[in-house]
């Protein structure tokens, strides 16, 4: 467990956490503002990835595809909101779970039908290929640094919008007490449409950004969605700040846990036992973290709604 490896894995964890934040950010607002559970949010992440992968050869490479994928995922978010989500706002969570579960089945299978079940890989764009020497002996891929930069930049932008604009103020107010905001004459549904579509684009952006480092395949959004859920409950439903901190925490714990759990265990138990138990423990780490946070604070780190 050298320092270099630790530093590299910390950066990887940071990168993973920032991607999770992009997916969780829109979702936590949707939960917060409308008390609407959207299982189909992971689908947007997958569609962002697929659009980028499929368009890249025709749109002049990765950046052209990315530029097309963003408005397309935004539009898809609007369509989904209009057709499926809107009739479900006043309904119970059960209806929302069932309908959005249905959407997942349709889109996952539809993607398989359209592009095949085999994973698609996208080359790293030339501009961001190669590695940089961060310190002596610490090489890190430029592309992963770019993802970290994009994630931090988006986070900053989001903070500026949420904290500094009237739209952001309404979103925050909506997450705290939607009926009151509505009573004050704000069209909460339109606000929600904007948040949903914007959140869909953020998730699509995350999906597009990871195409050069992950394989693009049907169902790739499901795992990310569930991790985003963990981020949201740890951060507190409806809280952007909570989602940001929780996403970084979970990205780091998961990445570092997977790389070092076995080594750390070897200090305590025999090597074969550590090899056997380590991976299982590592995969439990973030859920145990979630359980720990919720045991102390049932509303998450930053509960945005006093009534829970």
């Amino acid at each position: 467990m050298s320092f270099t490896l630790l530093a590299v894995q910390t950066l990887n964890g940071l990168q993973f956490g920032l991607m999770l934040f992009l997916v969780a950010a829109g979702l936590t607002l949707v939960f917060g503002v409308m008390d609407f559970i959207n299982l189909a949010h992971g689908v947007q992440y997958m569609l962002g990835a697929y659009l980028t992968a499929v368009l890249a050869p025709h749109a002049g490479g990765f950046f052209g595809a990315l530029a097309l994928a963003l408005p397309l995922t935004l539009a898809l978010g609007l369509v989904l909101e209009r057709i499926v989500f809107r009739p479900l706002y006043g309904r119970g969570h059960l209806d929302q779970v069932l309908a959005t579960f249905g959407v997942i089945l349709i889109v996952n299978e539809g993607v398989k039908l359209a592009f095949g079940a085999a994973p698609i890989s996208v080359p790293v764009p030339d501009l961001l290929s190669g590695s940089v020497m961060l310190t002596d002996g610490l090489l890190f891929p430029v592309y992963r640094l770019a993802i970290i930069g994009a994630g931090l930049g988006t986070g900053l932008l989001l903070w500026l919008v949420i904290d500094g604009t009237k739209f952001g103020m309404l979103v925050r107010a909506g997450a705290t007490n939607a009926p009151m905001v509505s009573a004050l004459g704000v069209d909460v549904r339109r606000l929600f449409t904007a948040v949903t579509a914007f959140g869909a684009m953020l998730a699509g952006f995350a999906g597009a950004m990871v195409t050069p480092i992950l394989s693009v395949e049907p169902g790739m959004g499901d795992g990310v969605l569930i991790l985003a859920f963990v981020v949201i409950v740890v951060g507190g439903v409806g809280s952007i700040r909570g989602a940001f901190l929780a996403a970084l925490l979970i990205g780091l714990v998961d990445t570092l846990g997977r790389s070092f759990a076995t080594d750390i265990l070897k200090l305590m138990v025999s090597a074969p036992t550590a090899n056997r138990v380590g991976p299982a423990l590592a995969s439990m780490a973030i859920y145990v973290l979630m359980a720990g946070v919720l045991a102390v604070r049932p509303g998450g780190l930053f509960p945005s709604r006093s009534a829970g």
Partner: protein, 310 residues
């Protein structure tokens, strides 16, 4: 009163059909497939206790099924082949996991409860994937089925069929007993108005937790049965989509009814089988059906639920 009697008549009829099914000379695969459906129906009946009567939307019930099947599978792989030991271990393991995770989940409600149960379900899934000693993501093929009092009676599909049917009847009985008891009354009351139930002096979280644990124990039993039926356990058994499928079964059958979950399990699994014969991409049709049912049934599925449950 007459409605309750009708409900029990329908249930009795369904169970009677299941009881004579192996005796009328159907091909073997029909018997094993029906046995499989019955095992999943146990989970649907168990989930109904939590979802229909308790109003808790658990999206992690497949984990309890998986934990039960892994407990049974690992025991058989380690040479402990007695059926009842496996059954006890599967039920206990699922129950303990539900006790630990449920203690955290029942403190939350609404959207958070759904996300937390889903997350804990996923945790079990990933741990099973990491169990390299027991097949990892490939799963574990069992050398043989469990022994019943030292005999190989369960080698016969028909015998195992009747064991699963007995377990299904027992599960229905347990859920019926519980929901008809004072505990069940408190559970139902807490679904409708937790504040008032708390004001009456009941510990709502505790009532919910025990319902959750009992439900998980029944799913654990189903897992043991599935492991024996297929002689195979794998993480796929506890994929989160299966938890969604259980919810679909309960809701399509009518949550909080006597026989709804059982009917729902049969309808959903038969539908899936039928659609998959028609097209490889049957999930599109199934998903579309789900969305359509929710959007276009008057008052949504909750409306059906209201009419049948209360």
């Amino acid at each position: 009163m007459s409605k309750t009697r009708r409900d029990f008549l329908v249930l009795g009829l369904m169970l009677a059909i299941l009881a004579v099914l192996p005796l009328v000379g159907l091909p073997g695969w029909v018997i094993t497939y029906t046995a499989r459906i019955m095992a999943f129906a146990i989970c649907a009946v168990a989930l109904d206790l939590v979802l229909g009567y308790g109003g808790m939307v658990s999206l992690g019930h497949a984990a309890f099924l998986g934990i039960g099947s892994y407990a049974a599978g690992i025991l058989i792989a380690e040479g402990i082949e007695d059926f009842f030991i496996g059954l006890a271990a599967g039920a206990a393991a699922a129950g303990l996991y539900a006790l630990a995770t449920g203690a955290i989940a029942v403190r939350t409600k609404g959207v958070a409860f759904i996300m937390i149960t889903l997350a804990f379900g996923q945790m079990a899934f990933f741990v099973a994937n990491a169990l390299s000693e027991y097949g990892g993501s490939d799963g574990l093929t069992l050398w043989s089925r469990a022994t019943l009092n030292g005999t190989r009676a369960l080698k016969s599909d028909t015998t195992l069929y009747f064991v699963i049917l007995a377990a299904l009847v027992a599960s229905l009985g347990v859920v019926r007993l519980v929901t008809a008891s004072p505990f069940g009354a408190v559970l139902r009351a807490a679904r409708n108005n937790p504040e008032r139930v708390t004001a009456l002096g009941y510990d709502v979280e505790r009532v919910r937790l025990w319902a959750y644990v009992l439900s998980a124990v029944l799913c654990g039993v189903a897992g043991v049965l599935i492991a024996n039926l297929t002689s195979f356990v794998s993480p796929a058994l506890m994929a989160w989509q299966r938890s969604g499928e259980f919810i679909v079964m309960v809701i399509l059958g009518g949550a909080g009814t006597v026989w709804g979950a059982l009917a729902g399990a049969f309808v959903v699994l038969a539908l899936e089988e039928g659609l998959s014969l028609a097209t490889q991409h049957w999930k599109i049709a199934f998903g579309a059906l789900l969305v359509a049912v929710v959007l276009f049934t008057r008052g949504g599925i909750a409306g059906l639920f209201d009419r049948s449950a209360r």
